[in-house]
């Protein structure tokens, strides 16, 4: 058995915010809408795969400070665009599994318990376009210059495109940062690293979701890099990158 993971190691990135410290419980549900395809002559029910769906429920303590939980979730409630949400069940160490979704709040509940208990907040989130399982390509950590992060080996190439998230939560003295995802069939040996995704130049805290079209091959190894980093003397960007093959 690999590592057993206590719930305390989870990471919850919501757009340009790290909401981890506000929550104590999370459930991530994925479902297939299976269709009954049984026909005459069959002795058993048969099924076919339908459309995927996904839901996330987050529960934590209510916090009304504008920059904290209530303020952030209130902003997202009913927003026109989904929020770039990256969920790390086992922290965001490079190679660890992540769940990626474009999150839309479906329900937002503030629970006022008895006078002697803390108020709680529960958010029910619908995944707009399903929930993808992927890997972290960069932990939520600070970089101050151009850098090549460690690669992740998928064991083989994949052939149905991908989705990637950038969540940048802290930006200090940043003018512009270019973050890319690259691929190689042999970890940068004879097959040099090649760009497959380029996030919009980062100028402050931000989040972005990119996709590679279905049917596109992604090579066995992927990594993320900072190819350009400009700013003043104390420049620093804290960000995470998640990548999911489809």
């Amino acid at each position: 058995m690999g590592k057993l993971i206590g719930g305390s190691s989870v990471k919850i990135l919501w757009g340009a915010s790290d909401l981890t410290s506000f929550f104590s419980d999370m459930s991530i549900d994925r479902s297939n809408d299976l269709q009954d395809t049984t026909r005459f002559g069959d002795a058993q029910h048969k099924y076919g795969k339908g459309i995927d769906d996904g839901d996330v429920v987050l529960t934590g303590l209510y916090d009304d400070v504008a920059a904290n939980l209530d303020g952030i979730l209130n902003t997202a409630f009913g927003a026109a665009a989904g929020t770039v949400a990256t969920l790390g069940p086992a922290a965001l160490t490079i190679g660890n599994a992540v769940r990626l979704l474009s999150a839309r709040e479906a329900q937002y509940r503030i629970e006022n318990g008895s006078t002697g208990t803390y108020q709680k907040l529960a958010a029910t989130i619908k995944a707009d376009g399903g929930i993808d399982r992927g890997v972290s390509l960069h932990a939520l950590a600070a970089e101050t210059a151009v850098v090549n992060s460690a690669s992740v080996d998928n064991g083989a190439a994949s052939t149905n495109g991908a989705v990637a998230h950038l969540n940048a939560t802290v930006a200090t003295e940043v003018t512009s940062v270019t973050i890319k995802i690259q691929e190689s069939s042999d970890n940068g040996g004879a097959d040099a690293w090649a760009d497959i995704m380029t996030f919009t130049a980062v100028t402050g805290t931000t989040s972005e979701r990119l996709t590679i079209a279905a049917g596109t091959t992604v090579e066995r190894y992927v990594r993320c890099i900072i190819s350009a980093f400009t700013g003043t003397a104390g420049k620093s960007l804290t960000y995470a990158v998640g990548f999911a093959r489809r």
């Binding site: 058995m1 719930g7 989870v10 104590s24 999370m26 459930s27 297939n32 395809t37 058993q44 086992a90």
Partner: protein, 135 residues
């Protein structure tokens, strides 16, 4: 007597032995019983129709490559389903086991700050479940 502790069960999904992570596996086989009673009957009568089967699995979550999270994701995304084998009392020769092709209907990753993370999922068999003996 062929009774056994649950710890002896073996579960395989898409040729991956996931037993190491599983702490509960519930196999349910169902027959559609069709109400065949008519006027004059004093009690309901039934005729067997199509058979069906599901497997509910609960695991401890493990995201290491090749372990339960990866295996479950493969099953979730498999367009044609995956082969699932359940050995209730182990894989010794002569022991009964159940096998079939199944789709993952749903998956839940549960995280609580004070507990081990869990991964649970429901598998829907397509085309029935076969019972056989290990050879």
């Amino acid at each position: 007597m062929g009774t056994s502790l649950g710890k002896n069960a073996v579960v395989q999904m898409n040729a991956v032995a996931i037993t190491t992570w599983v702490n509960q596996a519930d196999l349910q086989r169902v027959v559609d019983l069709l109400d065949a009673h008519t006027f004059g009957d004093t009690a309901k009568e039934y005729a067997p129709g199509l058979v069906d089967g599901t497997l509910g699995v609960t695991c401890l979550y493990d995201d290491v490559a090749g372990n339960i999270d990866a295996a479950a994701n493969t099953a979730f995304t498999a367009a044609a389903g995956v082969v699932v084998n359940i050995y209730p009392v182990g894989t010794a020769v002569g022991k009964a086991y159940y096998t079939g092709t199944a789709f993952m209907r749903n998956e839940r990753l549960g995280v609580n700050v004070a507990q081990l993370e869990t991964l649970s999922f429901d598998l829907q068999f397509s085309g029935g479940i076969s019972r056989a003996l290990v050879v």
